[in-house]
């Protein structure tokens, strides 16, 4: 009671909620294992569909786009599952009953989604380059990691918001995809162009890369602010 009246600071609320999600996930590894296997399967599908016609073709100009398609679909899978636990045992109601800052709830959920996506990417992206585009030089790895991070932050932020909405709807899996892909389109466009520029190289690749990265970062900032503002309405509904 004494603690309640004093209230938890927003940072502590955030850490508690994030800790809950991470503990829950690392005890079962449900989400991470399914995301990883799914990512590998997408790579296999790429391999099978490209191998027939493009055995000796240069897929470097395509590889940035293909990589982002892989990330989008894998993220969708993770986001769909991210509210499964909350829904099953009425945990979301519990969280809402507790005197928590709604912004902290959003940030904690977005951070846990981000971490799961990043863990998946750390394993799946090297695999992708191993199978599909092994010509990537070591010097571009840092640039690729940067654009991957920026893109994943935005997708986690928007995706968490949309997953909260679709968790309470009929046909939620399909609906999340229907909402998610158009709304992240600008981010996808900017990140894919930056990634392709980094992989393909050329004299002026840095211009395209930095422009794409800058736009992706700006989109992240705007969308995270909008989602943070609107989340209060969504989770209260």
């Amino acid at each position: 009671m004494a603690r309640r009246s004093k209230g938890l600071s927003a940072v502590r609320q955030y850490r508690l909620l994030l800790g809950k999600d991470l503990r829950q996930e690392f005890r079962t590894l449900d989400l991470l294992s399914s995301m990883l296997i799914y990512a590998v399967l997408v790579i296999i599908v790429y391999g099978a569909s490209l191998a027939t016609g493009a055995a000796d073709a240069d897929i470097a100009p395509l590889s940035g786009g293909l990589l982002w398609a892989l990330i989008v679909f894998t993220s969708l899978l993770g986001l769909n599952r991210s509210f499964a636990h909350e829904r099953e045992q009425g945990a979301l109601e519990g969280i809402l009953l507790a005197p928590l800052d709604r912004g902290a709830v959003y940030l904690a959920k977005a951070t846990s989604n981000l971490l799961f996506m990043l863990v998946t990417e750390v394993i799946a992206v090297p695999l992708y380059f191993f199978f599909m585009a092994s010509g990537v030089t070591a010097s571009t790895v840092g640039w690729l990691a940067l654009v991957l991070l920026v893109g994943t932050v935005g997708m986690a932020g928007i995706g968490t918001m949309l997953a909260t909405i679709t968790a309470h709807t009929r046909g939620r899996d399909v609906l999340l995809a229907v909402l998610f892909i158009p709304l992240i389109f600008p981010l996808l466009y900017a990140c894919a162009s930056a990634t392709t520029a980094a992989i393909v190289g050329g004299a002026f690749w840095m211009d395209t890369y930095s422009l794409g990265l800058m736009l992706a970062g700006a989109y992240d900032a705007i969308m995270l602010a909008v989602c943070w503002w609107l989340y209060d309405f969504v989770i209260g509904a």
Binding site: T169, V178, L179, L211, Y219, I222, C227, F233
Partner: protein
């Protein structure tokens, strides 16, 4: 007394009202829409000359210039394509405005406004797509190209369609209204950014289609006529659809009230069938009722 049951809720649902003042403008608006659209059509087809520098194969003399028939007709698409696209944007602005108003006020009629604006907007988006496709087919020789403007417009269309899929997937009116309003606001923020990003990032494969050269005075006049006509058509469609949805909601609310009223009458007056109907209130307080002694 009659509303005892519904009063026990925090607030009784008001009946959705319908028939506000803009409905009085409907008849003049319909006439004006027909006049302006027809005038714009005739002006664009018969009077206005083609864009300077249009290529010529066959011959026709329109507006003092010689042009071929295919080019001539495909250029006329522009006078409808652009106004329709502008109307779709105007309606989207209104939809976003109503979404914000719903989120602020929590009044369901703003959600209905946003829904109807989105519906009419989707209609105009589809019209824009159809006219645009005709244009790309005849002018550029392909049905579709990943030009920035086309791409962003396609994304816009997909977001609007997603809005309606979301609407259908939620049952409770308040929750549906909130979710849809949030998506409406996000979409409104998203679309200009989308447009900007596809414009800014250079893409060697898909050149930006630039439109050079100004419009002559008579072209602008035809365009303005069509634009006014299309705006009026948009307004008329919006009001007509709004009135329809509103009356539908009103009937539904009345039905609910009636069902509630009947239920109350049955539950509250347990012996209503034997109680003299003459001066007794229809659903009196239970403790004033003689319950079952007779």
């Amino acid at each position: 007394m009659r509303w005892a049951l519904s009063d026990s809720n925090s607030k009784r649902r008001r009946l959705p009202e319908s028939g506000q003042w803009p409905d009085k403008l409907m008849v003049p608006a319909i006439i004006a829409a027909a006049v302006f659209s027809t005038a714009g059509f005739l002006d664009a087809m018969l009077r206005v000359g083609p864009v300077n520098g249009a290529s010529v194969n066959g011959f026709a003399l329109i507006g003092g210039q010689v042009v071929d028939h295919v080019q001539l007709l495909s250029q006329k698409i522009f006078y409808f394509h652009m106004p329709v696209a502008i109307v779709s944007f105007v309606l989207l602005v209104f939809a976003a405005y109503y979404c914000v108003r719903y989120l602020v006020s929590r009044e369901l009629r703003f959600d209905t406004c946003a829904q109807v604006a989105m519906e009419v907007s989707l209609l105009f988006v589809i019209l824009t797509m159809v006219t645009g496709d005709l244009w790309t087919r005849f002018e550029w020789g392909v049905w579709w190209t990943w030009d920035p403007r086309l791409t962003t417009y396609l994304i816009l269309m997909l977001i609007i369609i997603a809005y309606f899929i979301l609407r259908n997937a939620v049952d409770e009116p308040e929750r549906r209204a909130t979710y849809c309003s949030v998506i409406g606001v996000i979409a409104f923020v998203d679309v200009p950014i989308c447009f900007m990003i596809t414009r800014l990032i250079p893409s060697s494969l898909h050149p930006v289609v630039t439109r050079q050269g100004g419009m002559t005075g008579d072209m602008a006049a035809a365009l303005a006529l069509c634009l006014i006509g299309m705006l009026l058509v948009g307004f008329v469609l919006y009001r007509a659809r709004f009135a329809q949805v509103r009356v539908d909601q009103r009937v539904q609310a009345l039905k609910d009230e009636l069902a509630l009223f009947e239920e109350e009458g049955r539950a509250g007056a347990g012996s209503a069938d034997v109680w003299p109907f003459s001066d007794a209130p229809l659903a009196a307080e239970p403790h004033t009722q003689p319950s079952g002694e007779d």
